[in-house]
């Protein structure tokens, strides 16, 4: 891998930029690997990168039905924060935020992590009590999160309408200053490039059609549209399609896949300094570096794999945006789209073993997986390399739905359920 630096940039400037190499290879699958990761989104590629860089496991393939970063990694609203309520989730998401802070250097690829602050608005007494509880819990966990009055929120985010005449007036907000946004495509590309340089094979246009198991029931190979590939361990990181893939290994998961919609406006000059989210009236908004307003809407109510959804769902989000930020009432929206998110009953992810020996799963990130990308990959790589969970993902077992030890983060998740 040729490192990006000011020196190489200047050298290429005198070479008409003809000397840049391809960022990753496009290899044919080998007959066998130590580890196969199913799904080349951010989480899968991060898993491959940390397997190679931290655990020395380089005989790894990441196989992908479509193209890398083409699913939810390229469809989310890129919000990053770690102010979750429970110690288990806060630990996992804070692990990710710490990795985000050094990620551009670690990958030698600019992921444009911008810590512009994430402001969560409270609109009723319950919100105020709940968010203050989060602030106090986060303080005990050593995670920054502070309470702002409506006037302080307005000072932090001037476009905000704090008039008492709103249908749901702003009663305050919780601000995590270390939160922010990152460039989603760059995350997938950066991890792919760095993992490829360490010897990981990224195999695109290769769909998993089944799993082959040995006499003791353990996974020994993955059957794909490009032939059978042997593997000692297999990790499925397939987001919305996890249920579909694991059904091919005879597993029934506690997951439902819903469309989650987002939309962007026409690009304008910098007008919006931070990320604002409001669970109660359902608005998620930030401005991309291109100038588009990036707006997150909600999930549709039914299971679907169609990567679209009803128009009334983004319209509902726009109603809230126009009330909270009246200056955007005449903005034109350019595109909307849907991604398929896999939601667990307790809104926390599942990272660990399945009932099939050698088959591991990292799924259930629901509506908020992007923020966890580096942390998720890091702990899942540990799980795949050692066969046992990292202390941070030990509580996030599949078995918790049998034991009842749920991690019920519904109140803290990014999208109301």
């Amino acid at each position: 891998m040729r490192r990006f630096s000011l020196r190489t940039l200047i050298a290429e400037a005198f070479n008409a930029h003809q000397g840049w190499e391809r960022q990753w290879r496009n290899p044919e699958p080998k007959p066998a690997y130590d580890v196969i990761i199913v799904g080349a989104g951010g989480h899968g590629l991060a898993t491959a990168f940390y397997l190679a860089s931290e655990h020395g496991v380089t005989n790894v393939a990441v196989i992908e039905k479509g193209w890398l970063g083409g699913g939810n990694t390229g469809r989310n609203t890129t919000i990053i924060r770690s102010n979750y309520l429970y110690d288990e989730s806060a630990g996992l998401y804070e692990h990710a935020v710490k990795l985000w802070e050094g990620l551009s250097q670690a990958l030698n690829y600019n992921v444009m992590y911008s810590q512009r602050g994430v402001l969560m608005l409270a609109h009723n007494v319950h919100d105020v009590q709940s968010f203050k509880r989060h602030v106090y819990a986060n303080r005990l966990q050593g995670i920054d999160n502070e309470w702002l009055t409506p006037e302080q929120a307005k000072a932090f985010c001037p476009p905000l309408n704090i008039s008492r005449d709103l249908r749901y007036p702003v009663l305050g907000g919780a601000l995590q200053r270390r939160g922010g946004v990152a460039r989603h495509d760059a995350v997938a590309w950066g991890y792919a490039r760095a993992a490829d340089a360490l010897g990981v094979d990224i195999i695109q246009n290769c769909e998993v059609t089944g799993f082959r198991r040995n006499a003791s029931g353990a996974v020994e190979a993955v059957e794909t549209s490009r032939g059978t590939i042997k593997a000692k361990r297999v990790g499925v990181v397939a987001a919305g399609h996890t249920s579909v893939i694991l059904a091919r290994a005879g597993l029934r998961m506690p997951l439902e896949s819903f469309p989650l919609q987002a939309l962007v406006s026409e690009p304008v000059k910098p007008v919006f300094p931070c990320v604002v989210m409001s669970n109660a009236v359902h608005a998620y908004i930030s401005q991309s570096d291109k100038g588009e307003l990036v707006i997150g809407a909600g999930t549709d109510q039914y299971v679907s794999y169609s990567q679209q959804g009803g128009l009334h769902v983004p319209m509902h989000a726009l109603d809230a945006i126009c009330e909270l930020f009246p200056q955007f009432s005449r903005m034109r929206m350019l595109r909307s789209w849907g991604g398929i998110v896999d939601v667990t009953p307790d809104r926390s992810p599942i990272i660990g073993k399945t009932a099939v020996p050698g088959l591991f799963v990292n799924c259930g990130w629901g509506t908020g997986g992007f923020k966890a990308t580096p942390g998720s990959g890091h702990v899942f790589a540990h799980t795949l390399a050692t066969g046992e969970p990292h202390p941070l993902n030990a509580p996030f077992t599949l078995d918790r739905f049998r034991t009842g030890r749920l991690i019920d983060e519904a109140a803290a998740a990014a999208v109301t359920h």
């Binding site: 579909v244 506690p254 439902e256 896949s257 039914y302 169609s306 009803g310 739905f401």
Partner: protein, 94 residues
């Protein structure tokens, strides 16, 4: 927005309906006799297929009655709807 065939009222827009999730998940006849694994399966595990799916709908802002429907989750197209208590009309029925 989906156009949903209520077996009582005919096709109506999705805004009138609430989705009740997967259909034909039966509670154990003797709940104290089943183990934690079976409870977990009943409460949490879902088919979640890419393809034909039987699910429950409630015509909340219409006749307010519950019914079942078969929908293709890849295309969102409804295949058939039927009243509660009727057998699932397609293969895989219970």
């Amino acid at each position: 927005m989906l156009l949903i065939p209520c077996p009582y009222c005919g096709e109506r827009p999705e805004l009138e309906f609430r989705c009740g999730g997967e259909a034909h998940i039966a509670r154990a006849a003797d709940p104290s006799a089943v183990d934690d694994g079976a409870w977990s399966e009943f409460l949490f595990s879902r088919g979640n297929p890419k393809g034909l799916y039987a699910e429950r709908w409630n015509h909340a802002h219409g006749c307010q009655r519950w019914f079942n429907a078969i929908r293709d989750t890849a295309s969102d197209r409804f295949v058939e709807s039927y009243k509660m208590g009727e057998k699932r009309p397609l293969p895989g029925g219970e």
